[in-house]
Each structure stands twice: as structure tokens, then as C-alpha cells.
């Protein structure tokens, strides 16, 4: 019999019941909640007279709607009344049901996918869900992490289980070494460019290969975060020493003898040598360039030295039509060099790229330089209150401020523009977030997905440049 993949192992360890019809009940170790996808779930519980199954598995924080300035005023500081109601509703629900919540004024508040790992609430081998598609982020720890819908949030609250169907196994292997200036973000954008936004649909993706093994936890999180942009609900990286070191001493992580026991188990969380995958894709790390998205889907990417495509050159009529539509929306011409795309704003943040390493990379590029006067705004939004504190201890805030970037309070911010931070119509933004859909960052706004280093380089120049030319 062939060996097991990491996904097979995680699946087997969480299988509560296999039903005859092919569906299964999967046990959930950790449930993260935020204000946007939970209110209707709590309401459902209340209407049915149900209680949460296991309180200590839940952890909540508001992130999508929180303002990134003037946070001392807490909930009162949320200007939009509808946003405020949503945050207040989360507070009320957590208080009523007894769920631990890092509220808006808590230093531990932040984007759910940043605070889980930061607190050690995300541990190797866990099954983790959240009513947010970027829950795949936690797969970087060798977790089975799914984004779920609101009905499933209610289901998990009430039963501690999720009804699932086993997915297929897919391996994305990045061989060799990455060049200098090439980051986890470039790797994942290159992968999506290669396999497409539906390339992983129906599959759980494991990212492996030498290039992935050499990456930090932050970079692995960036890659798993965007699995969903490749169509896969689940993305994973096998556990190794990097993972085990990262979780050490975090507040929710096991300590002492318990940690030793856990480590013994964590070390088994990798695919067996003879495991068989349904689909395998390989990339050469040395061939990956810093990436820039030019269109309205994350698969519409090019290397920074490349060009905007020419729809005429696309044989598939549905894709050609997609390119034409994207170029019209983005206000770009076929064949223009990526480096000629001019920018109005720069956003460094989101659950993809707002961790300390991301901020360090961006700061290294802007240090001693000034933001281009062509820009209307360049802002940095740390992923959590604790990331913010650490960055300030390292002096990164001063580097950003001296260069002319804004230094904000933590939250989702301009990633989806549910709070006051958004793009104006027709504005181009270099963004370290994960989605470049039409209107995502504001009505008529034009998003270009890039790494923090590339966003920083764009901020200095007012247009895209190859960040490697700015590194010495």
C-alpha cells in the first residue's frame, strides 16, 4: 500500500465519522471568528436554542471593519454606523456565549490569520476553520485549515464538526533556490499564474520542494494564504524544525513535558516518501521573478521584466475575452512593459503580507529614500497590535514615516476596503493583498498584487520597478 500524504494523515486524525454517502464528519480543533461572517451564525444558534459545543476551541477578533487610525476611542471611533453595529454585535455575541475575544482596544487584536499563529492558537496538526477563505494560511503549520461559510460557522459552533468530503491530493513542488529579492509572494503568484485560479479546485495542495523548505514561517503563510486564489480551500506545508521553533513559547502553545509530547507527534506531519498525489506541478525556484498582477484575477500576473499580454495572442476565446475585459477595466494597453504602469497609491498590509518579516522587507527598501511625489498615498498597516509593537521596537515605523509612508493601526484595511481606507475610481494601487478583483479595494479601483519589497520599490518610484535593482 502506498504511503500517506500529509493531507491523508490530517484527515484520518480528524475523522469522526465516515458516512455511507461519501461525506464525513471532521472534528475541528480551532475555530476563529470575526465580525463579518459570524452574526448570522450566532443568530441561528439563538433561534434554535443551541449552545456552542466547546468554548475553548473558539477565538474571536474584529478585523474587517476596524478603522486603522484613532483607535484609542475603540468601537466609538468607527465612523460608519453599519460597520460599528457589526463590531458591537461580535462583542455582544462573544460576551453572551462566553467566547474569548480580542476586542478592538486589546493589543492582541489583529487580522484573524495573523493572530492565530502569533498566539500559538494555531498549532501543527490542528484542524482549523474560520468564516474566511484565507484560513488556508494556517496550513503553513501542517494544519488542515479550511475557509467556511456562515452556515458552517454555525454548524461548527453547535457541533465542533464540519461536514466534508475528502479532497484530492495535489503537490506543488518548487525546486532549487530562489533568487535574491524573490519572496514567498512571488512564488505563490507565479504558481497561480501557472496553474490558474481554478488549478487547485477540489484539491488540497501541499507546497513542497527545496525552495519551500528554505522559507520562513511568514513566507510559508503567505503562500498557503493564497491557495484559495489557486482554487484550493486547503494549502499546507509539512512540519519541520522551522515550524516547531516558531510555535515555541507562544501563549496558547504547549509548554514543558506537554510540548515534548506534542513535538513527537508534530514530527510525523509530512507526506510519506511513497505517498501518491493525484496531481503534481513543479516549478524551478531560480526561474521565478518578482511578480506583478496586471489584470482582475490573481492568475493575471507577469514577471516585473515582462509585458501586459496581447489578447490577440490568446487562442482560447473565453480567456481572450477575459483579457480584453481586464485590460479595459485596468486602463492598460496590450504589450506595455509592466514597469510603465504608474501608481496612485501603495498598500502594504493584509493577512497575506502584514507580518513582521514583510514589514522588515519593505522597510529595507524604503530606508533612506522618499516616497515618489507622484503618489497620493502610501500606507503600511501591520497585521496585529503585537506586530505593530515589535516593528516599533525595531524602529521600522520611523523608517516608514521618514520615507513618507503612513503608519497605521492593525486590521484588514484597504485589502477589501470595508473600512474608510479605499481606492478612488480609476486609481492604480500596488498592493500586498491577495485579490485584484474589480472593485475589491474601492469602486473602480485598480489593484496590482505584489510582494512587500516590490510595493516598497513602487512607492519610491511612482511606478513598478524591479526591486532587485534597488538592492545592493
Amino acid at each position: 500500500m502506498a504511503g500517506k500524504t500529509l493531507y491523508d494523515k490530517l484527515w484520518d486524525d480528524h475523522l469522526v465519522k465516515q458516512r455511507d454517502d461519501g461525506s464525513a464528519l471532521i472534528y475541528i480543533d480551532r475555530h476563529l471568528l470575526h465580525e463579518v461572517t459570524s452574526p448570522q451564525a450566532f443568530e441561528g444558534l439563538r433561534l434554535a436554542g443551541r449552545k456552542p459545543w466547546r468554548l475553548d476551541a473558539n477565538l474571536a477578533t474584529p478585523d474587517h471593519n476596524v478603522p486603522t487610525t484613532d483607535r484609542a476611542r475603540g468601537v466609538e471611533g468607527i465612523v460608519d454606523p453599519v460597520s460599528r453595529i457589526q463590531v458591537e454585535t461580535l462583542d455582544k455575541n462573544c460576551d453572551e456565549f462566553g467566547i474569548l475575544e480580542f476586542k478592538i482596544k486589546d493589543q492582541r487584536q489583529g487580522i484573524v490569520h495573523v493572530i492565530g499563529p502569533e498566539q500559538g492558537a494555531t498549532l501543527p496538526g490542528m484542524s482549523i476553520v474560520c468564516g474566511d477563505s484565507h484560513t488556508s494560511t494556517h496550513g503553513a503549520f501542517g494544519c488542515l485549515a479550511h475557509g467556511i461559510g456562515t452556515s458552517e460557522v454555525e454548524h461548527v459552533l453547535a457541533t465542533q464538526c464540519l461536514v466534508q468530503q475528502k479532497m484530492k491530493n495535489m503537490l506543488v513542488k518548487v525546486n532549487g533556490k530562489l533568487g535574491p529579492g524573490v519572496t514567498g509572494k512571488d512564488v505563490v503568484l507565479a504558481i497561480i499564474g501557472k496553474i490558474g485560479t481554478a488549478g487547485g479546485t477540489g484539491h488540497a495542495i501541499e507546497f513542497g520542494g527545496e525552495a519551500i523548505r528554505n522559507l520562513s514561517m511568514e513566507a510559508r503563510m503567505t503562500i498557503c494564504n493564497m491557495s484559495i486564489e489557486a482554487g484550493a480551500r486547503v494549502g499546507m506545508v509539512a512540519v519541520d524544525q522551522t515550524t516547531i521553533d516558531y510555535v515555541k513559547d507562544r501563549p496558547f502553545a504547549p509548554k514543558g513535558e506537554m510540548r515534548n509530547r506534542a513535538i513527537e507527534y508534530w514530527k510525523t506531519l509530512h507526506s510519506d516518501d511513497d505517498a501518491v498525489f493525484d496531481k503534481v506541478v513543479e516549478l524551478e525556484g531560480s526561474e521565478i521573478m518578482p511578480q506583478v498582477s496586471w489584470g482582475t484575477s490573481p492568475e493575471m500576473v507577469a514577471g516585473v521584466g515582462g509585458h501586459v499580454p496581447d489578447p490577440e495572442a490568446e487562442a482560447d476565446p473565453i480567456k481572450r475575452e477575459g483579457i480584453v475585459r481586464a485590460l479595459k477595466y485596468m486602463g492598460l494597453k496590450p504589450n506595455m512593459p509592466i514597469t510603465e504602469i504608474k501608481l496612485d497609491r501603495v498598500f502594504i498590509g493584509s493577512c497575506t503580507n502584514s507580518r513582521i518579516e514583510d514589514l522588515r522587507e519593505a522597510a529595507a527598501v524604503v530606508k533612506g529614500r522618499k516616497v515618489s511625489p507622484l503618489l497620493k498615498q502610501a500606507m503600511v498597516v501591520p497585521g496585529s497590535g503585537l506586530v505593530k509593537v515589535q516593528a516599533e521596537q525595531e524602529g521600522l515605523d520611523r523608517i516608514f514615516l521618514e520615507a513618507g509612508l503612513e503608519w497605521r493601526d492593525p486590521g484588514c484595511s484597504m485589502c477589501l476596503a470595508m473600512n474608510a481606507d479605499k481606492l478612488g475610481q480609476g486609481e492604480h494601487c500596488a498592493s500586498t493583498s491577495n485579490r485584484n478583483f474589480e472593485g475589491r479595494q474601492g469602486f473602480g479601483g485598480r489593484t496590482h498584487l505584489v510582494s512587500p519589497a516590490m510595493a516598497a520599490a513602487a512607492a519610491i518610484n511612482g511606478h513598478f520597478v524591479d526591486v532587485r535593482e534597488m538592492m545592493n
Binding site: 469522526v16 465519522k17 458516512r19 454517502d21 461519501g22 461525506s23 464528519l25 472534528y27 463579518v36 461572517t37 448570522q40 443568530e43 434554535a48 443551541r50 459545543w53 466547546r54 468554548l55 475553548d56 471593519n65 453599519v82 460597520s83 457589526q86 454585535t89 474569548l100 474566511d132 477563505s133 475557509g147 461559510g149 456562515t150 452556515s151 458552517e152 454555525e154 454548524h155 453547535a158 457541533t159 465542533q160 464538526c161 461536514v163 481554478a198 479546485t201 484559495i228 482554487g231 484550493a232 501563549p251 496558547f252 504547549p254 506537554m258 510540548r259 509530547r261 506534542a262 473565453i318 477589501l416 476596503a417 470595508m418 485579490r435 478583483f437 474589480e438 472593485g439 475589491r440 469602486f443
Partner: protein, 217 residues
């Protein structure tokens, strides 16, 4: 949840691939803490020419005459015909809520994004995957003939055209069972409460650190 056994309705063809959930219901409408009332803002940015805001009277807004759902012949559509990778992007369940609130019961496409596909079943919406060539054919027929209707039979797992041509589709048994009977998933799962408790007890033995988070704080 509303049950769905058979359904026959007007087909609206939405000729666009990779329709994401931001497009189905833009984020400014996610601030609602209710499950209903999203219909007027379904496909908001495509449907209207101005920028949509919550709590607006949508009947007063300038509409985009080119958008399919604004054409009189499709106004009462209940079957949405779509292209590849429909429902990609964010996991927001507001997307199926909005489609359902508008009046859709069935969506047919060559492929769907996983989370969206799953969310549909929980809200009385039936997503049907048909081969690309068949979807192409349905697009042509729906565009050619005003009032074009499809008949869907979930029991028999078939889609039938006005000319009597029938296509079979696949759907997993559990989801089909729940949708046919309008069953609430949670109630079904709680019938297994004992099995869940037994699993928990054994995990407490083998992986106790997963249960001690509260003590570590």
C-alpha cells in the same frame, strides 16, 4: 431551509467566466447582520451605473441596460446559466443569500469554486455542473429564444430543455438528500453527538495539548 425537488424556470445567461463573490455581492453590503434583503444588490456593480451603498432605495438608481438581469426577458429568471469557476474568491455566504433573495433556485455552470458550491446547498440553491459543450449549447438556446425555460429534477438528477433533450448531472447523496428534504445540517450532525464525544475523549488521551489552550492563557 427550503426544499428543492423539481424546478422549472426562465434561464438568464451570464456570459462571463470567473465571476467572483465580490462581484455577486460587493463588500459594502456585507455589513448587514441579517440573512435576507440582499437581492436588490445582487451583482450591484454590474447592474447599476452608480456606486451602491447600503440602505439605499435601489429602484431609484440608474441601471446598466446592457446587464443581462436588467433585460425584461430575464427579469423573472430563476435559473442562472454561468461560465467556468463561478463563485470564486471570498467565502461570503452573502453570495448565495443574494442569489436566492433575487429569486434564483438553480445555477448551471461548467465549474464552480468549492466554497461557493458548498454554500449553495445550505441555502436551498442547487448548483449544477454540466460539460462545457452542453453549457455552450444552453447559452445559444437561451439567448436565441425568449422565455426559454429549463426543467430541473433533483430526484432524477436531470436537466431538460424545452425541446425535450435531457442531460444528467452528478451531485453527492448527502447534499441531495438534505436539499430534497429541506433538512438542517446541524440537526443531522447532532444525531451523532455520542460519536463526537467518543472521538473527543480519545483525542484528549492522544493529543491533550489540543484541549488545554484555556489553561495556558
Amino acid at each position: 431551509m427550503r426544499a428543492l425537488k423539481q424546478h422549472k424556470g426562465i434561464v438568464a445567461p451570464m456570459d462571463r467566466s470567473n465571476v467572483d463573490t465580490d462581484m455577486i455581492i460587493p463588500k459594502q453590503f456585507l455589513k448587514s447582520i441579517k440573512r435576507t434583503g440582499f437581492g436588490p444588490n445582487l451583482f450591484d456593480e454590474l447592474r447599476y451605473l452608480d456606486e451602491g451603498k447600503p440602505d439605499q432605495d435601489s429602484s431609484q438608481r440608474p441601471i446598466n441596460p446592457d446587464f443581462v438581469l436588467n433585460q425584461d426577458r430575464y427579469k423573472n429568471a430563476s435559473v442562472l446559466l454561468a461560465r467556468r469557476n463561478f463563485g470564486c474568491g471570498s467565502s461570503r455566504e452573502h453570495a448565495p443569500w443574494a442569489l436566492e433573495d433575487f429569486g434564483f433556485r438553480v445555477i448551471i455552470a461548467p465549474s464552480f469554486a468549492d466554497i461557493f458550491y458548498n454554500n449553495c446547498f445550505k441555502n436551498g440553491l442547487l448548483p449544477i455542473v454540466l460539460e462545457e459543450q452542453i453549457v455552450d449549447q444552453l447559452f445559444q438556446e437561451a439567448e436565441a429564444e425568449e422565455g426559454y425555460q429549463l426543467a430541473i429534477d433533483l430526484e432524477a438528477k436531470t436537466v431538460t430543455t424545452p425541446s425535450g433533450e435531457t442531460f444528467g448531472f452528478e451531485v453527492d447523496d448527502f447534499r441531495r438528500h438534505c436539499l430534497l428534504n429541506g433538512l438542517d445540517d446541524i440537526g443531522v450532525t447532532l444525531e451523532d453527538a455520542g460519536v463526537i464525544k467518543a472521538y473527543e475523549a480519545s483525542r484528549r488521551e492522544t493529543a491533550p495539548w489540543l484541549f488545554s489552550a484555556d489553561q495556558n492563557l
